[in-house]
């Protein structure tokens, strides 16, 4: 399906992917009684933060992420997307690590799980990282900084 005005957008695939993500988070909530927040689960899994989620379960969730992605890549035969170069990846990763710990969550914990619960903290956090993400891309474009091939 083509979205009028946005020929490159993939609204149906996006919606389908979003529903899968929602089902994943719902399974974690109703099955395990936890928030499917990837940054928190990662910190727990690597012993960086304590949490009531057993470490083995945190690691099992993390293992599933690449597993699910590679299954979809195999089924759809989509080409592997290009990532940024080493320097931007390292800088970005470092900032994401610091920011998600200070901000207590990322796109999944705040964006999906918290916003759907109308959590004030998650609404504010999501507005904050959306705004700074938009500002960052705008600033990089203005400076002519290209990170993707």
């Amino acid at each position: 399906m083509i979205l009028p005005g946005f020929p490159d957008a993939a609204p149906l695939a996006g919606l389908a992917g979003g529903v899968l993500i929602g089902l994943a988070a719902a399974l974690m909530l109703l099955g395990a009684g936890r928030i499917a927040g990837v940054s928190g689960i990662a910190a727990r899994s690597f012993g960086i933060a304590s949490s009531s989620l057993p470490r083995g379960q945190a690691f099992a969730f993390l293992v599933g992420l690449p597993l699910g992605a590679v299954i979809v890549a195999g089924l759809t035969g989509a080409a592997a997307p290009a990532l940024a170069g080493a320097v931007p990846l390292l800088v970005a990763g470092f900032l994401v690590g610091i920011g998600t710990r200070l901000g207590s969550g990322c796109t999944s914990g705040h964006g999906v799980c918290g916003m759907s619960r109308l959590s004030q903290r998650s609404l504010v956090a999501t507005a904050s990282f959306m705004a700074s993400g938009i500002a960052t891309v705008a600033a990089m474009n203005a400076l002519g900084l290209e990170v993707l091939p």
Binding site: A10, V19, I48, R121
Partner: protein
């Protein structure tokens, strides 16, 4: 693996599949969404919308449940205070998100698609998390 371990594994797998299907393992798509003042790509809004819709129903179901199906009790965030730490930390996260077009979920999911590059991102992210832990201890 016991039943308790199977729930997060299946959840993570569904999550990773959803990210890949929705195009969120493609940094060009994610940065396209953040490029609000340029060639805006609204795909991420559909991903977020679909996920939030399903989760909103899950929260309604959760309120009627005494305990989760495969665990003893719910362990959910209950804070409501808006702090500088929350806003500033999230803003810092957004800068990193904007630079590479990756957040934690797609970072891990990409380990199976672009292992070398994704490992760099994940390692730097864990280093950032460790730094916060070292500076302020366990909270």
């Amino acid at each position: 693996m016991n039943r308790e371990g199977l729930v997060p594994l299946v959840s993570g797998t569904l999550f990773g599949a959803g990210l890949a299907l929705g195009g969120m393992t493609d940094p060009a798509r994610v940065r396209g969404f953040l490029d609000l003042f340029g060639a805006w790509d609204p795909t991420l809004a559909f991903v977020m919308g679909g996920a939030v819709l399903v989760m909103a129903i899950a929260w309604i179901v959760q309120r009627r449940m005494a305990r989760p199906v495969f665990a003893g009790s719910f362990a959910l965030p209950d804070r409501s205070d808006i702090t500088l730490r929350l806003v500033g930390g999230s803003a810092l996260f957004g800068v990193g998100w904007g630079i590479a077009g990756l957040c934690p979920g797609p970072g891990f999911a990409s380990l199976a698609i672009r292992p070398g590059a994704a490992a760099l991102f994940v390692a730097a992210m864990l280093a950032g998390m460790v730094l916060v832990r070292l500076v302020e201890g366990d909270r």
